[in-house]
Symmetry: C2
Subunit: 360 residues, 2 copies
């Protein structure tokens, strides 16, 4: 790119235009606001005003400044801005260091939504969801002077860690405890569970068994609650709960048990991985899905459509959660909505082939 230029030694070449040729040479430093100002023939403050969309700038000036910005390839120094405003354009997100499908998709959706709003996302993943781990990750983010914080807090211990958060930091929790005093976005777990349970009852099943997630997770608790409520509302018997831990292994174990009971014709698994374990166990024990047993999962993981049979499941709309969470957070950051707010996202049922009518 840079052409070879013969420069005569001695006077002349470096003198005179401080801004022109010189600028190109020491291209190591990226242009600052004053460079733009000089080129556009205005003060740096006017450049700042253009950048921040202040109303009182003449259209003509605005255009000239924008042209100068484009010509120099200027980009504002976020550190300087953060220093003077006390706020960065960074959003911190604390999530469990896991490859669970839910958290992973949530993180991705969040990053995307934040990028659209001009924010960057700093992740602080934690190994475990205990109080110390969460507190540590929060500290690290506060260190970075994040503009706001999103914490995925699916268990009580995570919420606990948030109690002694310094006030004034915008905070949104995802999947947290609705009883806590911060802004919150959750998936309506109970509604999702009702969707699944009612679908199975509608297919003619006398009752529906449930392989649940770990009881200390709010998600799991909500799904249990919705499942039980549906059964009771329909006057169906509530069978004993089969506890699991989100893993395929626990679903398989549950399936090994359920497959031995002829009366079990419909199972609602608290997530798709457990459902996968169920499917395998049933197939091993010769119970055909959906002919003998109907199964519904939760999450709609990418593989769900390719299982045998394709899995009917509840889809939690992670991107809606992410967008809602970000909106809440941005509202707090800009100071528009003060009080904590709650957003509840309604899941939908994705019908595939793992449910059959009992009459068939």
């Amino acid at each position: 790119m840079r052409r070879a230029v013969t420069v005569l030694p001695g006077a002349g070449s470096r003198s005179g235009r401080e801004s022109g040729y010189e600028m190109d040479v020491r291209s190591t430093r990226s242009p600052a606001m004053t460079d733009v100002a000089k080129l556009a023939g205005v003060s740096h403050q006017t450049v700042s005003r253009v950048l921040n969309d202040h109303p009182n700038v003449r259209e003509q000036t605005r255009l000239r400044v924008r042209a100068a910005i484009a010509e120099l390839g200027y980009r504002p120094n976020r550190a300087a801005r953060a220093l003077v405003t006390g706020r960065s354009q960074l959003i911190g997100i604390v999530a469990q260091n896991s490859t669970l499908y839910g958290p992973a998709s949530l993180l991705a959706a969040f990053e995307q939504a934040a990028a659209e709003a001009g924010f960057a996302v700093s992740v602080g993943s934690v190994g475990r969801l205990d109080r110390e781990s969460i507190a540590g990750a929060v500290e690290r983010h506060l260190d970075q002077r994040v503009a706001g914080l999103v914490v995925i807090a699916p268990v009580a211990s995570a919420d606990d860690a948030l109690e002694d958060m310094p006030a004034g930091v915008p905070l949104v929790t995802i999947d947290g405890d609705p009883a806590r005093p911060h802004a919150l976005v959750t998936v309506d777990q109970a509604a999702g569970a009702r969707l699944a349970t009612e679908r199975l009852l509608r297919a003619g099943h006398r009752t529906v068994w449930h392989v649940s997630g770990p009881a200390d997770w709010y998600d799991a608790a909500g799904r249990i609650e919705g499942w039980r409520a549906s059964l009771e509302a329909a006057g169906a018997e509530v069978p004993p709960l089969v506890p699991g831990d989100w893993s395929a292994a626990s679903g398989y174990d549950a399936g090994q048990m359920l497959a031995r009971m002829p009366e079990v014709t419909a199972v609602f698994a608290a997530n798709d991985h457990q459902a996968l374990g169920l499917l395998r166990a049933f197939s091993e024990r010769g119970r055909r899905v959906p002919d003998d047993v109907s199964v519904i999962g939760f999450d709609d993981v990418p593989e769900a459509a390719f299982l045998i049979p394709p899995l009917t499941t509840v889809r939690p709309a992670f991107d809606a959660v992410a967008h809602a969470g970000l909106d809440l957070l941005l509202g707090q950051i800009t100071g528009e909505n003060e009080g904590p707010e709650r957003v509840v996202i309604a899941p939908t049922l994705v019908e595939r082939a793992s449910v059959a009518n009992i009459s068939a």
Copy 2:
């Protein structure tokens, strides 16, 4: 912590010590370096020296400053430091917005390693790995004045986007093209493939079939290469390649085909999801694993141990990749190692129950 202290109203309490009681009251502003300096009875520069471990500070002073830091709960303002040094303590990471197990674990491992080194990680996930998406994510990070950049670039188009990167920004690519001129960390895909292929040959199989990943991924190409090399080295016939796309669905399709060929007794799948699809297809068509067909996967996803049968697979040691990548990057940031370096991580074979000797 803070003991209840009776403060007499009137004179005395507020006067004199500008730093003591007053500080606690206007706790809205977090303490700055000058506050610490005042409390410790030194200049702010000395505080800075203590913070940055400069050699020429008297031990006694150092202790006094540290005590003041602790008492005030002072934490340095990263923005101010970034402004004056021109470098943030932020590392950007560009990865595909996906829930593929590999990238997701890599991200998590990276964040952890970076946190240990005192860096925060800003993620820029992209929907697709094309040139524009990558370039956009890189831009956003440069905007944030990241200290360094890690790009997971498993396909050529991702590398392409890095060509017109401004020089001087520390950059490490993961899974990229070794022919490119930047620092690089890769898993030795070929070695992993050899591990798998040789294991199957050693079990007495005449040859090994391969269900590959998408051909434009370097990972997939490396695994194909290793597989082919092993067969040729052993003088075994090289069967036609069965192409896949990482998904369980493609593994299932491949399995439907392979199950019809009696001569197929050993299959190496390019990842565990494809292996999962294979297992299902084989089970559907009555070919028992491992009695009739042996299968090996790649990635060691959490479910691998719980499949039926538990899957023998190649484990790429994502945390080693992350650590190596971070070391390389930190080396560039501190200016220790200039030239591009390559680190190749050797994978290991995790033996489970999906491989059997052909003699049995």
